[in-house]
């Protein structure tokens, strides 16, 4: 990993901005749900900020991602507009999906968020198809398939990686190993120590890295993305991270290993990167505060927009089932 490409200071700042957005967005989600202002199932990505932030700086808006119910961080890093996102979380017609999809199904093709799935493992087969399209058309796009450690044990993982390798698809499989699948620890669900090693089953490069280290995550992602763009095929990246919260809002995660959890939270990657950027002079304290305040203001605005928006009209139930509206 010492020979990984390193992000320059400006890139690190961009990564940090995304991470801070994800962090604050998560804070707001907790607040808004707990206050009863929005009712939704919310799966916090807190602790996993580095992964999509360090990936996305090497992506264009045209590149595709597929993500999961826990993927708010993936969407935000990819650039989903905050207002549309929040309006969708609030089930409003102004949301990305007119309120019909909700938090588990955010879609926003303009920023490349093509599928958000609530079914474990299902991001991967579809990601292959997007990558296949790029391969056929030669549009040079890459596709990121995000999924969890638990998802690495479902059949769709296996079928997808084999096909991607066989077809040399421009897709990157990003296993965000946050150590838990609902209440089940990684070790209790997985018969091998590193998901990254499973790449060998498909003759595909595979690595297990510290997904909370922005340098490493950036470098690994950059190599994989460049490979994919160059037509050299897929990569499996297992990004080790940690789920700060319970499985979903309302689950306090009391079954999680207390010490391990405290250690992870103490090593909060957002705070760490902020400190480092300031220490290294890449960011002034004032700039950091400005970033934070900006984000906070944007979130205020987005949430306000969402809550002021209308719910979809009831006849939306008959629309978008098929291309033609139902009678």
């Amino acid at each position: 990993m010492s020979n990984y490409p390193k992000p320059d200071a400006a890139t690190l700042v961009k990564i940090y901005e995304k991470m801070e957005l994800i962090r604050q967005n998560d804070e707001r989600a907790h607040k808004v749900v707990k206050a009863g202002r929005i009712i939704m199932p919310y799966y916090s990505p807190r602790g996993q900020e580095v992964i999509p932030s360090a990936i996305s700086v090497s992506l264009t808006a045209q590149d595709y991602i597929c993500t999961i119910y826990r993927g708010t961080h993936d969407m935000l890093a990819k650039g989903v507009p905050l207002k549309l996102l929040w309006a969708e979380l609030a089930g409003r017609v102004t949301g990305t999906c007119k309120g019909k999809g909700g938090p588990m199904h955010i879609t926003h093709p303009e920023t490349g968020v093509m599928v958000t799935t609530g079914v474990v493992g299902s991001s991967m087969p579809i990601a292959n198809g997007l990558a296949w399209a790029s391969q056929l058309s030669g549009d040079g796009r890459v596709t990121i398939a995000n999924f969890g450690d638990g998802a690495a044990n479902i059949g769709a993982f296996h079928e997808s990686l084999n096909m991607a390798a066989l077809w040399k698809l421009p897709v990157i499989f990003v296993c965000q190993n946050n150590r838990y699948a609902e209440h089940t620890t990684f070790a209790n669900s997985t018969a091998v120590e590193r998901i990254g090693d499973r790449a060998a089953s498909y003759g595909m490069p595979g690595i297990t890295i510290d997904g909370n280290d922005p340098d490493v995550m950036y470098g690994a992602a950059k190599i994989a993305i460049d490979r994919a763009r160059a037509g050299e095929g897929p990569t499996l990246i297992e990004a080790m991270t940690y789920r700060f919260n319970g499985h979903l809002l309302g689950d306090d995660g009391h079954y999680m290993d207390k010490e391990e959890r405290q250690r992870a939270i103490a090593a909060d990657p957002v705070a760490r990167l902020r400190k480092r950027l300031i220490d290294e002079g890449a960011l002034s304290e004032a700039d950091a505060v400005r970033i934070e305040t900006d984000i906070s203001a944007q979130l205020d605005e987005a949430i306000e927009f969402a809550l002021q928006s209308e719910y979809p009209a009831l006849d939306e139930i008959r629309r978008d089932v098929f291309a033609h509206e139902l009678a």
Binding site: G102, T184, N188, Y311, P312, V321, L326
Partner: protein
């Protein structure tokens, strides 16, 4: 006064009572052991502590879960497998349909698959399009598997015990939004036979045939209509396949009118089968066309007003019945 309990507690009690009585009963599914909190909803809480290795949490591998249940049942065990949500039966359909449901027939009766697959579902929880579907019609259309859907705690208890007893595979559908609704506690050990519907309310003007959470909505509608002197009979199917033709036909023969109600979408749903059969059997003896209510023909929407409008409610059932009976009401 009888004591109260919830469906979650009743299911837990049924599993506990069954496991205590029969060492061949084993439980598997995601997060079902106490190390993983005894199930995401707590239905299996305490069982692994009490019964040890007979209760196993699994990886997220639904094909492997149902496959393991099938295999163990072929070797004499009686597994109760949990597929967390009904939409996730989609990744295990080969195991359920091509194997569990068919092995008895294809082996000429040499083997059989006495498994129970518990699964939960239902709109109303804001979990959107991939977590709320009622898919019972698929399984009812599949020879070799029974389909059961209880409506309250005592029913859940008695039907789960009978499902576990049953020598054939049973898909056992639990409604998530009513998991914690209080109801009369079951009598210990009391089984409710599969294949027998129950008259949840007697009436003479119209029969509602329904099951699962919709029983409560139907009863509320019946209650509301009774204030106008309308007498509605509510039949809780309990077992969707094989369904209790006798009870349904007797009820409709008496009332002369039928409304079927379920949360699954209406086209090609369970109500269509019941309507088709009743129409055939009671041809010329019905007072009005059979009507069917079901969920909207779309994925379950997230947005609250749309989700609320998705499934039938006491109010829409009441309105439907008024429209059926309106010729009489208006003369």
């Amino acid at each position: 006064m009888t004591s109260k309990t919830t469906i979650v507690q009743a299911l837990n009690q049924a599993l506990d009572d069954a496991m205590a009585a029969d060492p061949s009963i084993i439980v598997l599914g995601e997060d079902v052991a106490d190390r993983e909190e005894g199930g995401v909803m707590g239905v299996t809480k305490g069982l692994s502590t009490k019964y040890g290795d007979r209760v196993r949490s699994t990886p997220i591998s639904e094909q492997a879960i149902v496959g393991a249940a099938i295999g163990a049942s072929l070797a004499g065990y009686k597994p109760v497998a949990e597929i967390m949500l009904m939409n996730f039966t989609t990744v295990a359909m080969d195991m359920i349909v091509n194997h569990a449901a068919k092995l008895r027939f294809m082996s000429g009766g040499q083997t059989h698959v006495p498994i129970v697959i518990r699964t939960m579902t239902g709109a109303g929880f804001s979990v959107g399009g991939q977590h709320s579907d009622y898919l019972e019609a698929w399984f009812a259309h599949t020879a070799g598997i029974k389909v059961v859907a209880p409506a309250d705690p005592a029913e859940a208890y008695g039907l789960l015990l009978s499902s576990i007893d049953d020598p054939d595979p049973v898909l056992f559908i639990e409604n998530m939004p009513s998991y914690w609704t209080q109801g009369a506690a079951p009598e210990q050990g009391k089984r409710i036979p599969l294949g027998q519907a129950r008259i949840a309310r007697e009436g003479s003007d119209l029969t509602i045939v329904t099951y699962s959470r919709m029983v409560g909505e139907a009863l509320a509608a019946a209650e509301a209509l009774s204030k106008d002197g309308l007498s509605i009979e509510v039949v809780d199917l309990r077992t969707i396949a094989p369904w209790d033709r006798d009870t349904v036909l007797q009820s409709v023969a008496k009332t002369g009118r039928l409304l079927t109600v379920h949360e699954a979408t209406k086209p090609f749903g369970v109500g269509s089968e019941i309507a088709a059969e009743v129409n055939e059997e009671l041809f010329g003896r019905l007072k009005s066309p059979i009507r069917r209510l079901g969920g909207a023909f779309c994925a379950v929407p997230f947005s609250k007003p749309l989700e609320d409008a998705f499934a039938p409610t006491a109010r829409t059932i009441e309105a439907e019945i008024r429209s059926i009976l309106s010729p009489e009401l208006t003369h």
